[in-house]
């Protein structure tokens, strides 16, 4: 309920209550807090709530998880992640909202997301993906003149013999499935929820998903 209401104080209180009552912290996250985020994600998709509600809830979720983390680590437990996604907006493009929406919806669906921001050079995507050991690279572009940078990231991966290591998903206003096929991306997402579906499906095929 604390997550659904986006109430950070209540979420923290819930986490402390979990610790006080010696409940299983992992169970509290997976069967309590995470479920709240998934329900909110579904409501967002239906247009019943908007991005601010989701962001506030995500903050409440993260605050509660931070409190529970030491207890989980002590029990050598960690929340199962659906996969690690490195996401950003490509070189020359300063548009970030679409990318931010995808990031928060992915997090709501159990993905670990590393957001490197907007207007990032193509090589940076590859370097950061290597550094954080990502499973997926998500490339956002909102302008037709920045779409070639999506191709450039894929080309760099090929040149560095890293193409098979990562799934590359592209999206953004002018981006289409045809463009994704043309440049050799693994997937195209027309919305944040398509991104979740596509990444889950592709990771499943690759045998990475839980």
């Amino acid at each position: 309920m604390a997550i659904m209401e986006g109430d950070e104080d209540k979420a923290k209180e819930y986490a402390h209550e979990v610790l006080r009552s010696q409940m299983d912290p992992l169970k509290a996250v997976e069967q309590g807090l995470s479920k709240g985020m998934i329900v909110l994600g579904e409501r967002f998709e239906k247009g019943e709530i908007f991005l601010p509600d989701l962001l506030i809830a995500a903050d409440a979720f993260n605050s509660a998880v931070e409190i529970l983390k030491p207890a989980m680590e002590a029990q050598k437990k960690q929340v199962a992640k659906a996969g690690k996604v490195l996401i950003g907006t490509v070189n020359g493009d300063v548009h970030g909202i679409g990318k931010n929406i995808v990031a928060v919806v992915l997090e709501a669906n159990g993905f670990e997301v590393v957001d490197i921001g907007v207007d990032k050079p193509s090589l940076k995507f590859v370097e950061e993906a290597e550094k954080v050991k990502a499973d997926v690279i998500g490339l956002s572009s909102l302008m037709t003149t920045t779409m070639p940078s999506q191709k450039e990231v894929i080309d760099i991966l090929k040149e560095m013999n890293l193409r098979q290591k990562y799934l590359v998903i592209i999206g953004g206003g002018p981006v289409t499935k045809e463009w994704a096929d043309k440049i050799g991306a693994d997937g195209y997402a027309g919305s944040a929820f398509q991104a979740v579906e596509v990444i889950k499906k592709l990771l499943g095929q690759k045998g990475i998903a839980d």
Binding site: N91, V94, I97, T146
Partner: protein, 457 residues
Amino acid sequence: MINFLEVYERAIKGPIMSEKDFDMKVFIPKLKNVVKTYGIQYDRETPVPSDDEATDHLYKAAVDFLSQVGVYCQNTNRVIQFTEEEILEAVREAPGKCFAGEGKEAGVFGMRKPDERKVPWFHVGSGIVTTSEEMATNKIENYASIAEVNSISIPALDSIRGVPVMAGSPAELYAAIRGVKIGREALRRAGRPGLPIMNLISTAAAAVTTIAASAPQFGLRPTDGWLCGAISEMKIDFGTMNKVAYLLNWGANIGAETSPILGGYCGGPAGTAVVSTAYILMGLLVQKGSYQLSFPIHFKYGCCTTRDVLWTVSASCQAASRNIPMPVIWLGYMAGGPNTKMYFYEAAAYLLCAVASGAPSVQTPHPAKAVKIDAFTPMECQFGVEMAKAAAQIHRPQANEMVIRLLEKYESQIEMAPSGSRYQDCYDVVSGKPGEDYVRLYDEVKAELVRMGIPLT
């Protein structure tokens, strides 16, 4: 009004904070609070409201909001702040008109009020990418051949000598200069070289490209118009500020470009209407616009013709037209593409909504969410002008009824809207004439709209 160097000083001296803190701790909570305090409410049954008191309340909410939130500078991570008095001073001193064009095409782009019968300034065309120079020339010549047209937008080019244009690259610079030359040449071919081009520089993502292609030897004049965009939401960067600095030094027309996103950080329609109105104040204060290009858009559908976005456009257009002397071009992205009935239903709804609400100018509604390459034809320009003229004869309550009837025709199809034909699929690219099928469809839809009571001639 405070000058631009003062704005810059505030960008380097204002309160410092992370962008996330600006979004989460300033923008979102203060917007929610302003919406609540001023009782801004969306009514889905009234996409075109007629309540002047509520409209003026929305304006006051926008002033309050901007004074509380400010504008975030992404390069310095600081907030450019304005007091309420400074905002009101900028409103008092705003000229409310923009002088554009040369010679016999010179004109004054001024204000309109809601329900005013004066026709809006007709701005036609689009920056949607066009893949060949010949097509670009034909299209621009066609736009300019519409007698009523006051100003135009020219398309962007996606390549130069076969080399794809990449943002901020030398190829972009070459293409931007080429695009400007094509634009002016096409206007000469139409016999209207003085017509102002007001979406400069369409083939430029980087400030350096804008500044380079603006050199007068390539054909541009201060009486054209340059778009200097804010970043959603309530943000700016040095790229845009550099363009503003250059254009102010030249004395050229600046178009403050803003696109609040419904469903994004603004939340629902009430919050988006506040931000949409506040952006026009920001256009006066930060970009120092002599005009504004505004297009509130839906985050999920990427178009401006959902019921809630139409309400947002109408409410913020009325708030601005009644209270802020800034000539605004209202631009809508349609979900349907060229050569589809859906496009025309959406365009009719959008133009009724904006023109009845006092839009000083409307631009040709852009087909296929403005993202399909080559998906823009002169036919949409012709319709935009005819429909805007008709809409100027319609008052808000009647426009509201018509918009509701049009929504019934297309609303359920927005998610899976047909993207329509490309220019080369429905036009003869050599003669620049539309195909028979498209002409037939156009005539059919027009007759249908006339039967609905829209006074199209």
